[in-house]
């Protein structure tokens, strides 16, 4: 047998068999590499980011994403682990909205509210994946009525792993009927692969305001971060902020709130958050052109299965989801969240990981 020599200059991936869907259809994973030796694995199941290995301060590769072991665990999980979330990232109050005079009811899968595309959201569907210009092109057709949403939506997601350490995600979507649309990647990060707890991570979020929520995690109003536990304009450790006496934190046992980053949405990616991990020296920078940034500190990850038969505990990982505002379809800027035929919905988000000091 002839084994193909690995080409250093070719970051592109090849498909390898990974697992199966319950109906027996095969699943695959692709690997992207960059010049720094980092590598990302992506599955056609949910467009899921299965793994991302990045050098630390010493140049040692280590895993920075949480992940499950099997396809079945991804299908059973309610953590949206590493998946691409659609049609609607985050929540819609009561699973109801009105669009062009028509009332719609979509899947209610989160205590009476809609969450992350519903029961069979994009993260549980099988995407078409092919190599594309040094990266990957992922495609999904979401049929009319998917999760209760109108219109047939076609999504293209281009994924690259750049040599500067950025995982570059460019989304484009069209629809044959008006529909709400907000997509996000849902990776859980832990930049220190030697400690299953992210509370020592130090986070900066470039936002002057966040959306305060009710007990159902639906936004009730915009609130200035100044003088509160939510003010991360100066970098601060996540863990110690969890002990600030703040009713918004007590409501959901930590951070699970949408920030309103500075800068104009839709005008190209701007830096919205930077997270450093002192022990490994790794640093994550999030850039996006989306209006909202959901910060979830991972308090409810308890019991989620890990890759090696282990179970994650609370605060095992954190998520930074780039998206429209939660329940925006029922707010004053509902139209800003609607994709209409003849237009293309786009998003550009970069998760860049390097080492600082």
């Amino acid at each position: 047998m002839i084994v193909a020599r690995q080409e250093r200059s070719m970051p592109v991936s090849h498909a390898t068999a990974w697992d199966h869907l319950p109906d027996g259809r095969p699943l695959h994973r692709w690997t992207l590499r960059n010049a720094a030796g980092a590598q990302v694995e992506i599955s056609d199941l949910g467009g899921t980011l299965l793994s991302w290995q990045v050098p630390d301060r010493q140049g040692r590769l280590g895993e920075v994403l949480l992940g499950h072991a099997t396809a079945q665990q991804y299908l059973d999980s309610n953590a949206y682990m590493g998946g691409i979330v659609g049609r609607w990232a985050n929540r819609i109050r009561g699973g109801r909205f009105r669009l062009d005079g028509i009332d719609y009811r979509v899947d209610r899968n989160d205590g009476g509210n809609h969450l992350h595309g519903g029961t069979d959201g994009f993260h549980r569907q099988r995407w078409d994946v092919e190599s594309d210009d040094g990266g990957l092109l992922l495609r999904l057709v979401s049929p009319e009525g998917d999760g209760g949403f109108p219109g047939e939506v076609r999504v293209e997601l281009r994924v690259r792993l750049d040599d500067d350490g950025a995982l570059d995600l460019r989304y484009a979507a069209t629809s044959d009927a008006p529909t709400p649309l907000s997509l996000t990647a849902h990776p859980y990060f832990n930049l220190n692969d030697r400690r299953p707890d992210i509370r020592d991570h130090v986070i900066r979020i470039d936002a002057d305001a966040f959306l305060a929520i009710d007990a159902g995690a639906i936004p009730v109003g915009r609130q200035e971060v100044a003088g509160s536990a939510f003010d991360f304009r100066e970098a601060a450790p996540i863990g110690s902020r969890l002990h600030w006496p703040d009713p918004q934190l007590r409501l959901v046992g930590g951070f699970d709130h949408c920030y309103v980053p500075r800068g104009e949405a839709g005008a190209g990616p701007r830096v919205v958050a930077v997270v450093t991990e002192p022990s490994s020296g790794r640093r994550l920078t999030v850039e996006t052109d989306r209006p909202g940034l959901q910060f979830y500190s991972g308090q409810k990850l308890t019991g989620q299965p890990g890759r090696h038969g282990d179970m994650y505990g609370p605060f095992a990982g954190f998520a930074l989801e780039t998206q429209a505002f939660p329940d925006q379809v029922n707010g004053p800027d509902a139209e800003g969240a609607i994709l209409r035929p003849g237009t293309v919905w786009r998003q550009h988000t970069r998760y860049r990981i390097d080492t600082a000091g």
Partner: protein
């Protein structure tokens, strides 16, 4: 609010950690519309004793000061305590919100860093027990707990208190302790001041740092950096965040919120990795000794001959060893040392370029320009424009 609250800050503002806590309080006030009249005494100890005369609305105080809990116990106004964490929960003062630097996490970060460098033996250089520095015992206890849990070879040395009188003797003892340690070894010092003493003792005892002894301090104190010839790796405490947290809690208490049971432990926010811990297993003792010499005297215009003399081998032998281990000539390593030192001064000081050239062992400013152009394809001036941080002190 018409009359701003009058708040007393009881800290020893001579220390970098306390100053950062105070800076954090300032950041919090600047980020909000909160206006406080802040009272700070030149002699904060007298303020601590006379605090009952203070006609104010609240106090944020350094509870590492052993007098603080007693002096502030019956104060009728809100008090927020700032200090070190304790492994024994009963050691915290009762009924006062307490913002702590997490001593266990500070030591853990230093220890994990040394592990990552590939070290397998560890020591802790602490302080003798003293009511004013209970945090040092907490850090020592944290170290003992880690090495016991991980069953690694480790030693603890508390040394003598730092005092001018007995200093000569103390250094001799420290050198003797360092000399007797199995090597290579990673040492965690309870503060940068203590780490600096180890660096000095290693020079006296002719012990190569970091090849034989790798050192991590705690505080990231610019003063300690300034006074060491070998740049010191140091854990950065979350002191500013402690200040912000303390200000937030006092702010809440002034609005009537009960925070008496609140305890916030703030982990370190980073580690400044410098030469003192960059341990690479080096096989050739000649290279090790030569590197040690270059790190100390590289900026004094030394040449390959002098390094070879110090090591006690011929130039040719030394060059062979350098080529094998480092893939560089001795001259290249000296030059790299000078360039690193120059870049550091350019980026982090206000020193004029001509002075930097001389201080880093370049024979002239022109020569430094030539070397920069050749090695970095830019001039020192361009490097300065790119890297010098605004307002560097």
């Amino acid at each position: 609010m018409t009359n701003p609250h009058r708040i007393a800050l009881l800290f020893n503002a001579n220390k970098v950690y306390d100053r950062q806590v105070i800076a954090g309080i300032g950041h919090y006030l600047n980020s909000t519309r909160v206006e406080w009249d802040l009272f700070m005494e030149e002699d904060f100890r007298s303020r601590m004793r006379d605090i009952h005369q203070f006609k104010g609305d609240g106090v944020i105080a350094d509870f590492d000061d052993p007098e603080a809990p007693e002096a502030l116990r019956d104060l009728p106004i809100p008090v927020v305590a700032v200090g070190g964490s304790y492994h024994d929960p009963s050691a915290y003062p009762a009924g006062v919100p307490y913002i702590a630097t997490d001593n266990a996490r500070l030591v853990r970060l230093a220890y994990d860093h040394l592990i990552e460098q590939g070290l397998g033996r560890f020591a802790f250089y602490g302080l003798p027990p003293n009511p004013g520095s209970r945090w040092a015992q907490e850090r020592e206890q944290a170290f003992r707990a880690i090495v016991e849990a991980e069953a690694v070879e480790a030693t603890v040395y508390e040394g003598s208190p730092t005092s001018a009188g007995g200093w000569g003797e103390a250094v001799e003892e420290l050198v003797a302790w360092l000399t007797a340690l199995p090597k290579p070894i990673g040492i965690i010092a309870t503060t940068d001041a203590r780490a600096r003493q180890i660096l000095q003792a290693c020079v006296i005892g002719d012990i190569p740092v970091p090849e034989q002894v790798a050192i991590v301090g705690i505080d990231n104190d610019p003063m300690a950096q300034l006074l060491t010839r070998i740049p010191l790796t140091s854990v950065i405490q979350g002191a500013e965040e402690m200040g912000r947290t303390a200000a937030h809690l006092l702010h809440q208490m002034l609005r009537g919120v009960d925070c008496s049971g609140t305890r916030v432990l703030v982990p370190p926010v980073g580690i400044n990795v410098q030469v003192s811990s960059r341990y690479h297993p080096v096989r050739s003792p000649h290279v090790m000794r030569a590197s040690h010499y270059i790190r100390q005297y590289g900026c004094l215009g030394i040449k390959t001959e002098q390094v070879a003399d110090y090591v006690g081998v011929s130039r040719t032998v030394l060059e062979e060893h350098f080529k094998r281990e480092l893939k560089q000539t001795v001259h290249q390593v000296i030059l790299k040392h000078k360039l690193d030192a120059a870049c550091d001064l350019i980026a982090n000081s206000d020193t004029p370029l001509a002075d930097i050239a001389l201080r880093c062992g370049f024979t002239s400013l022109q020569y430094m320009y030539a070397v920069f152009r050749r090695e970095y394809d830019c001039t020192p001036r361009q490097y300065l424009d790119l890297h010098r941080t605004a307002g560097a002190t």
